[in-house]
């Protein structure tokens, strides 16, 4: 479980960092719109929220990868508890 948590949280953290740098170098947070309204947070707040947003999205992708990595055996295991 601990490994899976690391597999989900760590690579997503690294990629979120890269995405954060790339995105906010190109886009000024003060020029963003949120639900049609200009973003009124401070730049620091937008950067921080942005980072956790990226992290969450990347973690979702890592989680999905982990989820699909389960072998057929593991997926079927609960159906034949007494098979072996």
């Amino acid at each position: 479980m601990r490994q899976r948590l690391m597999w989900v949280l760590w690579p997503s953290f690294v990629v979120a960092g890269v995405a954060e740098i790339a995105f906010f170098t190109l886009v000024d947070p003060q020029e963003l719109y949120l639900f049609g309204e200009p973003v009124y947070f401070s730049r620091m707040a937008t950067y921080s929220i942005g980072f956790f947003g990226f992290w969450a999205v990347c973690a979702a992708a890592s989680f999905f990868t982990c989820f699909l990595q389960r072998s057929a055996k593991e997926v079927n295991a609960h159906r034949h508890p007494a098979a072996h």
């Binding site: 490994q3 690391m6 760590w10 690294v14 170098t25 190109l26 000024d28 401070s42 730049r43 620091m44 707040a45 950067y47 921080s48 072998s71 057929a72 055996k73 079927n76 034949h80 098979a83 072996h84």
Partner: protein, 472 residues
């Protein structure tokens, strides 16, 4: 599985699954002294003096090293980088990567062993741990003892020092992104912004967790470099190597024994190389990806060899070829220059030269011209056609500047609005300008005109910026 029958879990499969990430046992590295340990401390001091010190250096009335995220400007001593300069950042990353490739190809994991923050902070945290809890044996004993007042006292003391050190590290880190003097004032008046507090705690916690708890697990399970550094290795790469031929068969013996007579090699199997290893491996098993090249085993083995009156270097920096072909230092150095190293150095040199050239010719003035789309072209008094422009004048230098503005490109072109604009250091000034021409100056449609801005004090600082003029 292609087999139609359900195949039961075999023991072997389960071992494979588990041994990939075995339950990690706590490693108690024995502290070590010697040539390489001294070099590691030199690098710990150097890197940390730079890290904790650089943010306090003043330059031109500001912080010398400041990555001002709020103002979106990076200051590195005399240089100011704007978001438009992202190219430099990208090239800098490429230079770092290529330097790492080059170092790795020649000297193996020099980065990991001496300069990586993970190694540096683990060294510092281990030093604190040893000062509070005692040496390796004392620490192992303390951990095995039941809870007592002394144990709580020692553990609490260690963690308190770790936490204070981590918070200072977090504070310093944030001090590179928010001016550290503002941050200090905020801290003294207990008036820090919520995000500053958050990031100080976040980075502090990361330091505490990585150097205090995770340690070698970061290198073994989290570091991508540890996984791909082998790609840069070849048989002429220097690595920490155990001389199997000389050491085997290993075995304990009395100091006075003639071990050759007993058919023994030079390794006395004292296990000290394992005890000092921060990642808990046995270097005698050969090169492993867990080996961070810290050379602690070399230091400790040399001490053992000295005690036994055997020559030093049973474990030493050597190359695969050198061990196999019994090369000396002269041969090893002779093989440093080889195609891989030449290619890495060549590419690195080209990029560094391009980077420095780019820095040297980095413009000190930038101008963005935007035609006012709302107004299009309109006719004004005297039958002239007017277009309106918004200019963003960026003084990228650190000196206040005044720029003369002129416009050319169409016959009898006139500029209405300010002719000179003053821009403070490292700031942007927006201004609106009207440009007028007689209708017969050009064809109907878009024509090209040029705005010229020239510094009053230094005519070499100038920009010739293209714009489009619409004629109805």
């Amino acid at each position: 599985m292609s087999s139609p029958n359900p195949v039961p879990h075999t023991a072997a499969e389960e071992t494979v699954e588990q041994s990939l990430y075995e339950v990690s046992r706590k490693i108690y590295p024995r502290s070590v002294t010697g040539w390489f340990a001294t070099w590691r401390w030199v690098f710990v001091w150097l890197t940390q003096l730079v890290f904790y010190g650089c943010c306090w250096l003043p330059w031109n009335g500001r912080q010398a090293m400041l990555f001002d995220l709020v103002e979106r400007k990076f200051y590195i001593f005399g240089l100011v980088f704007w978001p438009q300069d992202v190219f430099f950042l990208a090239v800098l990353l490429i230079i770092s990567a290529y330097s790492l490739f080059l170092f790795t190809a020649v000297g193996g994991r020099l980065w990991c062993g001496y300069a990586c923050p993970q190694t540096v902070y683990t060294s510092i945290f281990l030093y604190i741990e040893e000062k509070v809890e005692g040496n390796r044996m004392a620490r192992m004993k303390l951990d095995s003892l039941p809870l007592s007042l002394r144990k709580v006292y020692l553990k609490a003391g260690k963690h308190a020092i770790w936490i204070i050190f981590s918070l200072w590290t977090g504070f310093t880190f944030v001090g590179y992104f928010t001016p550290i003097k503002t941050l200090t004032t905020g801290l003294l008046h207990l008036d820090l912004g919520p995000w500053e507090i958050f990031w100080i705690l976040f980075y502090g916690l990361a330091t505490y967790g990585n150097a205090g708890w995770l340690r070698e697990q970061v290198c073994k399970y989290m570091c991508p470099y540890a996984r791909f550094q082998g790609v840069m290795f070849d048989p002429d790469t220097l690595t920490v190597t155990y001389d199997r031929e000389r050491g085997e068969p290993r075995g304990s013996r009395a100091r006075k024994t003639d071990h050759r007579e007993k058919g023994l090699g030079d390794c006395i199997d004292c296990q000290l190389c394992v005890a000092v290893c921060p990642t808990g491996i046995d270097i005698r098993d050969g090169l492993q990806y867990e080996c961070i090249g810290c050379a602690a085993c070399i230091d400790v083995c040399d001490q053992v060899m000295d005690k036994m009156d055997y020559p030093r270097g049973l474990i030493r920096y050597s190359t695969e070829n050198a061990i196999e072909k019994h090369w000396g230092w002269r041969d090893i150095l002779g093989h440093v220059i080889r195609p891989r190293v030449l290619v890495y150095s060549g590419v690195l040199m080209v990029i560094v030269i391009a980077f420095l050239w780019g820095l040297a010719v980095k413009p000190e003035l930038r101008v963005d011209v935007l035609r006012d789309r709302a107004a299009l072209a309109r006719e004004v008094e005297g039958g002239l056609i007017e277009n309106v422009y918004r200019l963003q004048v960026m003084n990228v230098s650190e000196i206040p500047q005044r720029y003369e503005i002129s416009v050319q490109g169409l016959k009898d072109i006139q500029l209405i609005g300010p002719r000179v604009v003053a821009v403070a250091p490292a700031t942007t000034q927006a201004l609106t300008l009207q440009v007028r021409v007689p209708p017969e100056s050009g064809k109907t449609g878009a024509s090209t005109i040029y705005f010229d801005l020239r510094s009053v004090s230094n005519p070499r600082i100038a920009v010739h910026e293209k714009a489009r003029f619409l004629l109805p």
